[in-house]
């Protein structure tokens, strides 16, 4: 049997050491706070080292870094589970205390339980969560199509109404910056759709000139998006990336500890 150094090292650093640390930390709060930092340091350093050190145990197909990626997928699944537990706890408390809006919490929990039950039923019967062999939807799909999708669409479509109201009541040319923003927004909005052709629709003689003007507006909108917007977006992305990198370094070095969620004195 081959000795898989990458796997052994990962299990040792990210599983055995933390378990020993938790066991020892039962009576030592200081140790309890250092173990997660240690995990953070290793989890942060391994992917970085794998980019620069071409060793099989680190960056090979079964090396530490790809294996860590796979662990991350599993961890993300657990995070989802944690979210569900949190939703159930918070809403159950709301119902039991008859807090304001408890009825909506009850609806949420019923929706969660019914949808989950249909999902689990689909997995248990091997029918899945899509369509039955005869093309009809599974119960999960039915709930999704009849409840989840219309509700999500409704919430998002409300945006059109609020945007129109805001456009009328709040989008004002109060100063130079706001005026520039307003003009740019107006040009992009007009250029993204065949607005002039729509306005000229009742007047056939105007169609050719409306079409040409619409093409020009479209080109202008595309240039606004391409040049000033593209340049500003590049700056924002580079700034955010530098911020994320500095935060990552702080986490790896154990300077940033907010993510640990430790209480006072730890």
């Amino acid at each position: 049997m081959n000795f898989d150094f990458g796997r052994v090292a990962l299990v040792l650093v990210l599983a055995v050491v933390p378990i020993i640390g938790i066991a020892l930390g039962m009576r030592a709060p200081a140790l309890r706070s250092r173990i997660p930092i240690l995990i953070g340091i290793f989890a942060g350093l391994i992917p970085i080292f794998s980019l620069y050190i071409p060793k099989q145990f680190l960056s090979g197909p079964t090396g530490m870094s790809p294996r860590l990626d796979q662990w991350l997928i599993i961890l993300a699944g657990f995070a989802l589970l944690l979210g569900i537990v949190n939703v159930v706890q918070n809403n159950s408390r709301k119902i039991s205390r008859r807090e304001k809006g408890w009825f909506f919490a009850a609806v949420l929990l019923i929706g969660l339980l019914v949808t989950s039950a249909f999902g689990i039923w689909g997995w248990w019967t091997k029918m899945g969560i899509g369509f039955m062999p005869d093309g009809s939807p599974t119960p999960f799909k039915w709930v999704e199509d009849r409840f989840f999708q219309p509700l999500q669409s409704t919430i998002f479509s409300l945006l059109a109404f609020f945007m129109a109201s805001a456009a009328f009541r709040a989008f004002r040319a109060r100063n130079t910056e706001a005026t520039i923003l307003l003009i740019a927004a107006g040009l992009v909005m007009a250029g993204r759709v065949p607005l002039l052709e729509f306005l000229a629709a009742p007047f056939p003689p105007l169609h050719p000139s409306a079409s040409a003007a619409s093409q020009f507006l479209g080109g202008l909108a595309e240039r606004i998006m391409d040049i000033p917007n593209g340049a500003a977006q590049s700056g924002i992305i580079i700034g955010a990336a530098l911020g994320a990198a500095s935060m990552a370094i702080r986490v790896i070095l154990g300077i940033e500890r907010g993510y640990l969620g430790l209480g006072q004195g730890e």
Binding site: I73, F148, Q152, A190, V193
Partner: protein
Amino acid sequence: MKRIFTWLLKLDRRWIFLFVLFSVATPIVFPIGLPVTTTDSTRRAFEYLESLKPGDTIWLSFDYGPSSAPENDPMAEAVMRQCFLKHVKVVVLALYPLGGLGLANTAVAKVTAEFPGLRYGEDYVNLGYKDGAAAVMRRLGEDIAGAFPTDVNGTPLSRIPMMRGVHDIRNVKLVFTAATGVIGEWWITQVHSQIGTPVVIGPTAVSAPKYYAYLNAGQLVGMLSGMKGAAEYERLLRDTYPQMARFYKSTRTFTATKGMDGQTVIHTVMIAFIILGNLAFLVTRETGRPEAAA
């Protein structure tokens, strides 16, 4: 005149809501059929897909939920139609947790029904949903089976004929992501930048401005920007394939081209509102009248 503008500023917002409702609903009930012009970013995406050979494989990721389905559904469907017309194989998956898989299942069922000769596992495959989008993308660079051991039906990837030559994401010719939120950006940073697989994105119009930076940097092959981008893609499909021209003309289902009518009307209404609101603001400011709260 001042009295009219003051009255306008004090107008109950529910009248505005009602006006918006009629502006959107009217073109849906009575389509106008406005023309659609194409932009360079959409043409580049279309031409890249056109350059693929029969038997090539593309990766189609449903990274959006029902909230943006009217924008993203038509682009994902149009890309699938183009691939099936060209005999390009399609690997479908979803990385968006809020209904991405449901939309993928519906779109796959809808489009594959339009091409009766297609065979599951040979022409297309549905890998289903996986949580942890960025981690999944990183894993796809090593081996797809590590992230998706089975397809959505539970069949191991090794038993799916079209997946035999597709070991990792380097073996696909293109990643197309119809995306809302940050997942689309991860395909660029995690897959294109680190692995090199070309990426085309179909974001919602709201998130499209961000992607111009990537487009300018050459990190995106092309972009279908919101419903307009989807309508442009449908037009390119109609212009290139006569059967698609017939299809888009006769189909009773929602298409981006139909949606553009509503979008045009609502854009006109918004611009009119902005102009009216600012006129009222200027006129009432001169007289020193207080402005209604937004």
